[in-house]
Each structure stands twice: as structure tokens, then as C-alpha cells.
């Protein structure tokens, strides 16, 4: 049986207090711990488990660091770790702009 409770969040290695995701203030240590506890192997899972990459920039600045940590933890080459799927918009867009699709004359189904 795994001892989840014992994998403490104490910094136990170099860099573990380093902030990886600035928007959501997630540290490298938290990401490594989640990867080990839940056996995560994709960027999407790390986002869900830690909120890293869920903030304003949507991982544009930290996704590469998350990939590096994943590749170290799961002992795979970084090229084997795929990017998270894109959840539009790719850059922040005002709510009003999204609403314009249906304002003034009926909307039409796209995507």
C-alpha cells in the first residue's frame, strides 16, 4: 500500500519551493508531489490536480516547465509528453466579443 499521507509537502529537494506557475502560485514541489501521489503522466492531469497552468496565461509560460518536471518524474523524453489540448480562446478575449457572435442577427453553428 502506498503511504500517501507520508509524502509530506515539506521541501525535500532543491527547487521544490520554486514557483512554476506564477498565475496560480504553484510550486515545483507541489507539482512533483501530485505526479507521484496520483501517478500523473500528462500536462492536462497536472493542471487539474494542481491548478498549474489554469490561470490568466493558461500555461503559456509554465507549460514547458510542467513538461520538464513530468519528463523527469516519469523518466520519459520531453518530446513524448504532449501539450494540453487547446481550450479556446487562445488569448484572453472579452466576454462582449464572444457574445457578438449572436448579437444582432441570429447565430450560426461553427466549430
Amino acid at each position: 500500500m502506498e503511504s500517501v499521507k507520508d509524502s509530506s509537502s515539506e521541501p525535500d529537494e532543491e527547487g521544490s519551493e520554486k514557483i512554476v506557475c506564477r498565475c496560480e502560485e504553484v510550486t515545483e514541489g507541489e507539482i512533483r508531489e501530485s505526479i507521484r501521489t496520483y501517478k500523473l503522466d500528462t500536462v492536462a492531469e497536472v493542471k487539474r490536480a494542481t491548478r498549474a497552468g489554469m490561470g490568466l496565461c493558461q500555461g503559456r509560460s509554465c507549460e514547458i516547465s510542467i513538461k520538464r518536471i513530468l519528463s523527469e518524474e516519469t523518466r520519459r523524453d520531453i518530446s513524448e509528453i504532449s501539450a494540453d489540448s487547446v481550450r479556446p480562446p487562445t488569448i484572453p478575449v472579452e466576454t462582449g466579443v464572444i457574445a457578438d457572435v449572436i448579437r444582432g442577427g441570429g447565430g450560426n453553428e461553427e466549430d
Binding site: 500500500m1 502506498e2 503511504s3 500517501v4 499521507k5 496560480e24 501521489t37 496520483y38 501517478k39 500528462t42 492536462a44 492531469e45 487539474r48 490536480a49 491548478r51 489554469m54 490561470g55 490568466l56 493558461q58 481550450r87 479556446p88 480562446p89 484572453p92 478575449v93 472579452e94 466576454t95 462582449g96 464572444i98 457574445a99 457578438d100 457572435v101 449572436i102 448579437r103 441570429g106 447565430g107 450560426n108 453553428e109 461553427e110 466549430d111
Partner: protein, 387 residues
């Protein structure tokens, strides 16, 4: 061949909750998930815990689940982002005002707190549009961070010895008389004593493997996420139209395109202070894509209640598939009479986060004790057989 006492199909919030409560009873359990844990509807929702919207007997179940949430952060040793914010039910249409007030009265009769905001109070609320004609504030409703709940349940279940197999799909079962004895997965075949179908929008396909026709299909919902904004006084707002679109009886309004797409605002400010703008309801098979038109209606409708959203940035959008019972919209829970060791926990529709704790607790109890839980009696599979 590996053997497990209870095999749960589906690593969403429902499967995870059942695994947690079983592991608390010391039962050995294996969760088999075809994709990633919490990668289905349980990872694509708003984390609302609406209580005031329901009628008995579903209300009874919801209330019990809501009570379990009170102690869950402490029990799981994790801050679940539980926010006892209450709900602000809002209407734009003058002719819906009396309906809303009736609704508020009924809540009070049921012992659920509700009060109407006076027009002064409405005007003082600078976030709300001047067009908002009336509002009722309820007290029983809350919200939660659904990932924190899901991962909290998973990590405690694991600490209690539960096994979670991801990227592993259940393909078929082997029966011996009325008993399921083995489950074939894409990785290995597992022996089991009890099987639980918690496969969400796909739970029909697991039923098909044992000859049960489970009337569940996916009902798509789409959501927008804003950038963080200052903490609001009312953090859970609901369009009164939601009651028509989500809980049926939307017949006359179905005429508008928005209502056809099932768009009514449910607005929740998350612990991170981002807002989720939900939600829509339509049937599109297993298509999990967002559409520009539905997102457009979601955005437009939200700005009618909260005009400041107009210039607020959207950072993300996503869609999820609710497990929806197309006979009566209600969950399907408990032991199946036709078989000796098959349990079901699905059809939670737009209430799976709300109902996860009570579902886990009562399913675990039925499996462990062999006795039926009374609270589940209105939600059994047997209700479809008389039809």
C-alpha cells in the same frame, strides 16, 4: 489473474466517492478508468451545490449530501474550497417576478431559507444590472472546487488501500449465472466479487454487457471561465430560466434559439476568484466540443445580469457530458435485482458533484451490509420495469 473485492467502472467523482467510502469500511476496491481520473464530466463542471432547486424525493438526497459536505474538508484533510455562499436567483422578465416570489415562499415552507431582496437592496448591488427585476437569496446552496473534492476522495481512498487503474477500459464481462465473475479490460482481466457501474455518460454501454438497458445518454454542457475579479458579495447567481432549461417544463420558451440550446445563466465565483459562466444543455452524442454559437449565448446572457462582464476577459472554455437519464432525468442508484452482484450509480445529470458524497456513502453501505438504503428507493433501476 488479479482479484479484487469490488471493481468500480469509472474514475469520475461518483466512482471515486464510492471507492473512498468502501475503503473507509476496509473493503478492498479497484477503480478502472478508461481515460484519466476526473477527466470526464467530473472535470468539466461548475462545482455548484444547489439545494433549493429540487423537489422531494431528490431534495432529500441532496440535503443529506449537502450535510456530508459540511464535514468533508476536515475528513479528507484538504481545503475543498467549500463556500456556503447561498444562491441568488434572479429574473429579468417582469412577468417572472411573481413566479420567483412563489418559488421563494415554497422554499421557506420546506425549511430552506429564502428571502426576497427589496428594490433598494437590488439597486445597492452595483454588480447587478438595472434590468434585474427581482432576486431571491437562498441560504442552503453552496459551491466547492470539484477537483479538490475528486482528488481529495482519491488520495484518501488510496491511503486506505484502494487501487486506481487509469488508461484502462472495461471491454466486456464474464458471467456465471446471475453473477459477474470477471471483467476484461484493455490491459488485463480481473476477477471480482462485486461490480459497480459508475461509467457516467457511458454507463449504458456497461449495462449492455450484462443485458440491462440503462436509459442514460450524454447531455452536453458548455462553460466559459473569466479572469479573476474582486471577490463579490453574491458568488453564486442563477438565472430563473435555469429552472425551466435544466429541470424541464421549458415548453413555451423553447421557441427561442437560446432556450433550444438550453442556455440559462449559472454564474459561480470560484475560490480562485475566476467566474465560471454556465451552462448549456443539448444532446450531441459524445461530441465534447464547444460551439461558438452556444458560447455566444452564454456570454450574452451573463452580461445581462452582470454588465461588468462585458469587458472582462474570458481565459478558457470547455464542454462536458452529463450522464442524463432520458426517462425522468433522475439518478439511477443501488443494487440491481436481476443480478447477484451488480450495482449502479449514474444518471446524476447536472447534480453529480452535489450528490457525490451521499452516493458514495449509501452505495458503500448497500455493498457492505447487503441491505437496501431507504433513501435510494425512489432512484432504483426497477422503476423503469413497470413501464
Amino acid at each position: 489473474m488479479k482479484k479484487t473485492e469490488v471493481l468500480i467502472v469509472g474514475g469520475g467523482i461518483i466512482g471515486s466517492s464510492i471507492a473512498y467510502y468502501l475503503s473507509k469500511h476496509g473493503v478492498e476496491v479497484t477503480v478502472v478508468e478508461k481515460g484519466k481520473l476526473l477527466g470526464g464530466a467530473s472535470g468539466a463542471n461548475q462545482g455548484g451545490i444547489p439545494v433549493s432547486l429540487f423537489e422531494p424525493p431528490l431534495l432529500d438526497l441532496v440535503r443529506e449530501s449537502r450535510k456530508l459536505y459540511d464535514g468533508l474538508s476536515q475528513e479528507l484533510g484538504e481545503d475543498l474550497g467549500f463556500d456556503e455562499t447561498g444562491l441568488l436567483l434572479i429574473v429579468l422578465d417582469k412577468d417572472q417576478e411573481s413566479l420567483l416570489n412563489q418559488f421563494g415562499k415554497r422554499l421557506e415552507q420546506r425549511g430552506l431559507g429564502a428571502e426576497s431582496l427589496s428594490s433598494n437592496e437590488l439597486q445597492a448591488e452595483s454588480l447587478l444590472a438595472d434590468n434585474v427585476k427581482a432576486a431571491v437569496k437562498t441560504s442552503a446552496d453552496a459551491s466547492v472546487d470539484p477537483f479538490k473534492v475528486g482528488f481529495g476522495l482519491i488520495s484518501q481512498a488510496k491511503a486506505n488501500g484502494a487501487t486506481f487503474l487509469k488508461d484502462t477500459e472495461v471491454k466486456d464481462v464474464i458471467m456465471s449465472g446471475r453473477k459477474v465473475t470477471q471483467v476484461k479490460t484493455t490491459r488485463e482481466t480481473l476477477q471480482l466479487n462485486y461490480l459497480v457501474n459508475a461509467a457516467g455518460a457511458r454507463s449504458k454501454s456497461i449495462g449492455d454487457m450484462v443485458g440491462l438497458d440503462i436509459p442514460v445518454k450524454p447531455r452536453r454542457g458548455q462553460i466559459l471561465v473569466t479572469e479573476p475579479t474582486p471577490r463579490a458579495k453574491y458568488r453564486y447567481l442563477m438565472d430563473f430560466d435555469y429552472i425551466a432549461t435544466a429541470l424541464g417544463n421549458g415548453d413555451k420558451e423553447e421557441k427561442s434559439r437560446r432556450m433550444k440550446l438550453g442556455v440559462a445563466s449559472s454564474l459561480i465565483q470560484e475560490p480562485s476568484s475566476n467566474w465560471t459562466i454556465g451552462a448549456s444543455r443539448d444532446f450531441a452524442g459524445f461530441n465534447k466540443k464547444t460551439t461558438r454559437e452556444t458560447l455566444g449565448y452564454l456570454a450574452d446572457r451573463a452580461t445581462k445580469f452582470l454588465p461588468d462582464f462585458e469587458n472582462c476577459n474570458i481565459i478558457r472554455s470547455y464542454a462536458g457530458l452529463r450522464p442524463y437519464c432520458h426517462v425522468d432525468g433522475k439518478p439511477i442508484l443501488g443494487r440491481i435485482e436481476e443480478l447477484d452482484n451488480f450495482f449502479i450509480a449514474t444518471g446524476h445529470a447536472g447534480e453529480g458533484i452535489t450528490l457525490a458524497p451521499i452516493t458514495g456513502k449509501l452505495l458503500a453501505r448497500e455493498i457492505v451490509s447487503g441491505r437496501k438504503a431507504k433513501l435510494l428507493d425512489s432512484f432504483r433501476y426497477s422503476r423503469f420495469e413497470s413501464e
